[in-house]
């Protein structure tokens, strides 16, 4: 299986592990991730604004590039995933945005939201299959109580992202089962970590992250996994006193598949 792959800028700087283990695991699963040539930053969360077109353009370029390759586009970072899916949805359904973006970019062929964007977790679930992963696991996390931390960007808005039920998700829990661990379901798993607020009001962001960790610890989690670099950053700033380490899910996948060096 070959997919176009959009890593995003954080995965080249702060979140190298998310990217590195993701690629290694994909290789072990027989998947080729072809990094899109000359990709640019997805724009963070700015492209979600309705009245500004410029911020959406680099996402459209990435989407059009995958379309040209005739491949599904795999994303890994929660924020990039959210942005690419939402922009793609706008290109398919919002005539005004679509027309403006196409006029601006002057692509060889107009883009109308044709590319299928999937998150790495969706690739594992829908393209590879968690049962298949279970078979390929060499070092299962037997007995480990692992809490999935979804955060806010991975699943919402549910109607556009179409990945899982945002209020009662199970994709990461199924992933944890596939690598041999025991999922811990704790209510705060889909609450916000504080996000970008950490730049503005550190105390508030810390409070939010603290509540997540407190609840996860309280419900018996040994560790947490996430798909979001910003969540990992915020949670790691607040692990003091909770003793719940936070990892990228790809790191655990690589370890389970025996390809983590």
């Amino acid at each position: 299986m070959i997919f176009s792959y959009y890593p995003g800028c954080t995965l080249k700087t702060k979140a190298k592990d998310l990217d590195r283990y993701g690629r290694k695991s994909a290789e072990a699963l027989g998947i080729t991730l072809e990094e899109i040539p000359n990709w640019q930053c997805c724009g963070g969360v700015y492209p979600i604004s309705k009245d500004e077109i410029a911020t959406k353009l680099s996402s459209v370029r990435a989407l059009a590039s995958a379309k040209e390759a005739g491949q599904d586009l795999v994303t890994l970072c929660s924020a990039c995933h959210n942005v690419l899916k939402q922009v793609n949805n706008d290109m398919a359904n919002d005539e005004e945005i679509c027309a403006k973006a196409n006029r601006y970019l002057e692509l060889e062929e107009e883009y109308h939201g044709e590319t299928n964007v999937i998150h790495y977790l969706e690739m594992l679930r829908d393209k590879v299959g968690f049962d298949k992963i279970k078979e390929l696991v060499k070092n299962p996390f037997t007995g480990k109580k692992i809490g999935a931390y979804y955060g806010c960007l991975l699943l919402r808005p549910g109607k556009v992202l179409q990945m899982d039920n945002p209020e009662n998700p199970k994709i990461m829990e199924d992933f944890i089962r596939a690598i041999g661990g025991t999922p811990v379901i704790y209510p705060m798993r889909n609450e916000c970590c504080g996000g970008y607020v950490t730049l503005e009001d550190k105390a508030l962001a810390n409070k939010r992250s603290g509540k997540v960790l407190e609840n996860a610890k309280d419900m018996g989690a040994d560790m947490l996994i996430t798909a979001c670099p910003l969540c990992l950053y915020n949670l790691n700033k607040n692990t003091d006193g909770y003793d719940v380490p936070v990892y990228y899910f790809t790191e655990l996948l690589a370890e389970a598949l025996g390809v983590k060096d």
Partner: protein
């Protein structure tokens, strides 16, 4: 050549303010065949009708056109007037210049022009009208009530009271419905069982009422006055005629770990069971999913202990076919599943419960014998949070857009009962709006706040977080003080939205009764015909038509019964003469019409025809049963050779209208 009269109505200013009615009447005078044309302020009034009657006689009219409101409103009125003046009622045509003209246009000149065109089309049609005579069909004097909750029970009792036979089909082993699970009823706080069970017994003892419990409607054929219904009697593996309801089998059954649906799974029952002590009929039923004897042939204990030999492991589903004149739908509701609302942690904590579960926890026949205890650890809760509108008035797409109507009142009831019985308990109610219209309802809610000290907080709960120490953190907003609240609760009660029972959808298809987008049955008119379905002979009772509390359900149930009694009191029903008819010479027997007919009114038969060369040929041709045909016209469109025509709406009549409009 017809002699046509045209009558243009002002409808006060409804039409006359936008349409120049005099100009319309004047313009119609020069239409071919029109010998008389006039206008009048209210054509439907007695004076207006007299004007029509007198004109018919004076001008020897053979057909009339009334330019007025929608035919839904007054076609029958004008037909009756024409008939009393000696004209066939089907020689009357209505040009709708109100709903389809004056009400939707603003400018008088084009509106008048359009009114004239609509009038011309009606004149063109009436030229081709022929007198029609309505036939009659007999009425089967027996009614069917589908659903045996309080709605179905009340409807059946009222119909039986009037002297007609009535059957109740109930899919559960007992009648009674949701009301059997409710502890107390608002606003009087009397016990639900005390007022319901006597009615259940009345049903069982009334010789006019037959109860098909543990049964479902399998198929419905026929039409108003003459429905033919197949009822599936599910195998309960107990002979109803022998079982005395003594209950020994339920004591002896070794399979004791079956979730008890009557108590919403909060305790267990046996595989052979009687749902509750006052069940009607009081007959045991074997749950085939759990019975060891039925699953693998290893047990037979109940048969051994049954003193009357009522247990029959070999019982099969049986089918009963019955004829009915009228059918009442009373299929009721269920609380919605809360899968989409996991922010309230319903699936994560046993101490987050629904309001119906709360009813069972406070009911003497419930799993805790009426003492309010937490399902997780059996401890007394000291802080209870009620959350209203869980899935109601929801625009996110996770729940229902409508208001479930009953939750404000039952939540006030729950809050009040808790404070009354356990004064040491703090009670919080989160609401979007408190909606308590109804007799003595608002007073009831105010008592909860003012006398019982229930904390009502305007705002929604955002997150419910169960913690390892057993407490539940409730995070909510107080919109009036603009504060975030964190309440450590012991029990959280969710007022889940209600939705129509799942069986309603397939039933609606069988009955060709229409539904809205929420699967509530649609009434024939939202204000003026609230208990009739648009399909003749189908009536609606209770929540299947829309959310209702008990007093409202009972009122509607009695209203539906009154409508049924009115129908069954007639010996014959007048049929609609506007039915399809096949031209046998043009029919080529292709069956296209038979396939599209939703009423099964078309049959095929081989007929002898004398051909032009004097030979005899046998051809397969369609014929329409006029008593079954509802005049929908689907067959006329489907027929490739144009052999099907609808009386009163023939292809040539419709083409004449189109020609008149396009002229």
């Amino acid at each position: 050549m017809q002699r046509i009269g045209v009558f243009v109505c002002h409808c006060g200013t409804n039409i006359a303010a936008t349409v120049d009615v005099k100009a319309v009447a004047e313009a119609m005078k020069i239409e071919p065949g029109v010998v008389f044309s006039t206008d009048y302020q209210y054509m439907c009034s007695e004076a207006g009708q007299n004007l029509i009657k007198d004109s018919i006689k004076e001008h020897k009219l053979t057909g009339i056109v009334v330019c007025s409101c929608s035919p839904r409103m007054h076609e029958a009125t004008f037909r009756k007037a024409a008939q009393s003046a000696g004209l066939n009622p089907y020689m009357v045509e209505i040009a709708n210049i109100r709903e389809q003209c004056s009400w939707i246009h603003k400018d008088m000149i084009p509106a008048t022009e359009k009114a004239i065109i609509l009038g011309k089309a009606a004149v063109a049609k009436v030229h081709l009208n022929t007198p029609l005579t309505a036939g009659e069909s007999p009425v089967v004097k027996r009614a069917l009530v589908i659903g045996g909750g309080i709605a179905g029970i009340q409807t059946a009792l009222d119909i039986a009271e009037a002297g007609f036979e009535v059957d109740i089909v109930e899919k559960q082993p007992t009648i009674g419905g949701k009301m059997t699970q409710i502890d107390k009823t608002f606003p009087t706080l009397d016990c639900a069982a005390c007022i319901l069970t006597p009615k259940m017994v009345d049903c069982a003892q009334n010789e006019k009422i037959k109860i098909y419990s543990y049964s479902e409607v399998e198929d419905v054929k026929g039409f108003v006055g003459n429905f033919s219904v197949t009822i599936k009697r599910k195998a309960r593996y107990v002979d109803e005629t022998k079982c005395t309801g003594c209950g020994i089998c339920t004591e002896k059954c070794p399979m004791k770990k079956v979730p008890n649906e009557f108590n919403l799974g909060m305790d267990n029952r046996t595989a052979i069971y009687i749902p509750f002590a006052q069940a009607v009929p009081k007959v045991a039923t074997i749950d085939a999913d759990y019975c060891n004897m039925l699953k693998n042939g290893k047990c037979g204990v109940c048969q051994k202990f049954c003193t009357v030999g009522a247990i029959d492991y070999k019982q099969k589903d049986t089918f009963v076919e019955e004829k009915y004149g009228a059918i009442v739908v009373a299929t009721g509701f269920n609380p919605i599943k809360l899968d989409n609302f996991d922010e309230f942690a319903y699936s994560q904590s046993k101490d987050v419960i629904t309001s119906l579960e709360f009813e069972r926890l406070t009911n003497a026949a419930g799993p805790t014998s009426g003492t309010l205890l937490r399902p997780s650890d059996g401890k007394h809760p000291h802080t209870i949070v009620f959350v209203q509108c869980v899935g109601s008035r929801d625009t996110s797409g996770c729940g229902k857009t409508y208001c479930s109507k009953i939750c404000c009142m039952y939540t006030a009831k729950h809050a009040m009962l808790v404070r009354e019985k356990y004064p040491d308990t703090e009670v919080y109610v989160f609401y979007i709006d408190v909606r308590t219209p109804g007799k003595n309802f608002d007073e009831f809610y105010r008592r909860a706040v003012e006398e019982y000290g229930v904390h009502y907080i305007k705002g929604m709960v955002g997150k419910v977080v169960p913690r390892s120490d057993g407490s539940i953190m409730v995070q909510a907003s107080d919109l009036l003080s603009n504060e975030q609240l964190h309440i450590s609760a012991d029990l959280v009660v969710l007022a889940a939205a209600i939705e129509p029972d799942k069986s309603a959808r397939s039933l609606a298809t069988m009955l060709t009764a229409s539904m809205d987008t929420n699967d509530f049955f649609t009434e024939a008119h939202p204000k003026l015909r609230p208990v009739e379905s648009p399909t003749a002979g189908i009536f609606l009772s209770g929540v299947c038509q829309g959310p209702k509390d008990i007093p409202e359900t009972v009122s509607q149930a009695s209203a539906a019964a009154a409508k049924v009694i009115g129908l069954l009191a007639k010996d014959k029903l007048t049929c609609n003469p506007c039915v399809a008819e096949a031209n046998e010479w043009m029919c080529n027997g292709c069956s296209s019409c038979e396939k599209v007919c939703p009423y099964g009114a078309i049959t095929y038969s081989d007929k002898e025809f004398r051909m032009p060369d004097r030979t005899t040929a046998i051809r397969r041709v369609a014929s329409v049963n006029p008593a079954v045909c509802q005049g929908c016209g689907a067959c006329t469109v489907a027929c490739p050779s144009g052999a099907m025509d609808l009386k009163g709406f023939s292809n040539s009549q419709i083409m004449a209208e189109v020609d008149a409009i396009c002229k």
